[in-house]
Symmetry: D2
Subunit: 146 residues, 4 copies
């Protein structure tokens, strides 16, 4: 997928605390980058994810995380995590992610994160908030699967 | 898959540093549990993974990590990460993982981690060390895919 | 201070996720070791720290953390974090900590962590729970400062 | 100390991975903020810390870290870590740090980090590089202790 398929990205500079004994980003920290970038994607929509729990009693649970590592990411490197929503289900959102060096096409990793909206009292999945669906649909347009 | 399909597991007690604002283990830390449990699986074989780089100039790269989250894991909970090798390719090892509460069948998460053996000088994939293949084959027996 | 001055220690094996590009434990993770070892110290007393908030509306805040690094700690090394209470104030507890290789006198780091008991509603410091004071006094005996 | 005493600061937005079950930044992560901010202070001097090891065979070891926590830091909060050098010894650099909310005087934490320059072959402390001393002296001027 070309970087141009993504309408949103968020920059990171790799911290020394994030590299391992091979001086490359430790595999688990990719999920921290993904989580942080998705938070910023929601802010950009703009969707008040943090206020949702209080408003509705519903919260998102991460049910799936996938990372496919292509090329290592180095200490102090400037990277961009690209985020898009590929699919909206009744209660689920599927995010696709890509990591590139800042401003470059070179691909470091791809990934997928799936959230399910959950009624915190009933402990059951709940339909996605219509405001969220509407805003994602506007942002993603034709790139959004059914 | 039943826990009995796994010949190896490694215990963890959840640290306060590993939980997030929902008081459950943050999604990225599952990959740290997986990584640590795989290190212990290699020690149990026993396979000297850390000595491999010096002996052969080859090292493993993680090329894929998958987590499917079933039920949250709580602060101070005692869990076991079960590890088995499901497939040996020419240069790749596919680990399957499951997280259970200590001594219980209840499933918290499943996952998959794929390693590729790499010649560090040539930057190309390399055949798995025969010692590693032999020891995994002995441990896993019929549960091992081709 | 000799290791014999400590009545409690907790073992850790260093995880690959905890080392940095110099293949030694990253400086911030010492505080995670300290925090985890103090949790286990409380369990050993035994003091139900986690139940305290619900019972009393009071919780501990960390107000000070100090680490003095003596010798690096390596990947896969087995270490012990020794914990003792050096001082009990009206509302504060001062923990002293030492990190040694498992079973050895060799010193890797020393540290100090100070907790203040806090009334969560009034946002003011509160006297230490008498049960906690009594149990620490029994465990530490003469080694405890006034 | 007033924020105006600091010539350098570095911004952070708190990640969800950095907060604990109390929804505040976990105590160990303050040292990661400090470490990252000191890296950026060196870049701003500008001093090529990462190239020093190859040029001279000398590297810095962190020998002391202190954090005094004043007020909790929350998820998603924008903070600034202010850095200054308070003292230059023969082989040591003493950094003082403060954490404030972005653009505000309100104090969240103060801290101290001490580095010692070390000859990696001889395993002994080494005099600070004169280039580093000169650049710190220019930046800090009269605020620098002897």
């Amino acid at each position: 997928m070309a970087r141009s398929e993504f309408r949103f990205s968020w920059p990171f500079r790799v911290r020394y605390s994030e590299v391992d004994g091979q001086k490359i980003v430790f595999n688990a920290h990719y999920l921290t980058y993904f989580d942080t970038a998705i938070t910023e994607y929601c802010r950009a929509l703009p969707y008040d994810y943090m206020g949702q729990v209080e408003r509705t009693g519903e919260d998102f649970h991460t049910v799936r995380s996938l990372v496919e590592y292509q090329q290592p990411i180095l200490f102090d490197e400037d990277i961009e995590v690209h985020v898009r929503v590929a699919r909206l289900g009744r209660s689920s959102v599927t995010f696709l992610l890509e990591i590139h060096p800042a401003g470059a096409e070179d691909l470091r990793a791809t990934g997928e994160v799936v959230w399910v909206n959950t009624d915190q009292a009933a402990h059951k999945s709940a339909a996605l908030p219509s405001e969220l669906v509407a805003k994602i649909t506007v942002l993603e347009g034709d790139r959004l699967g059914a």
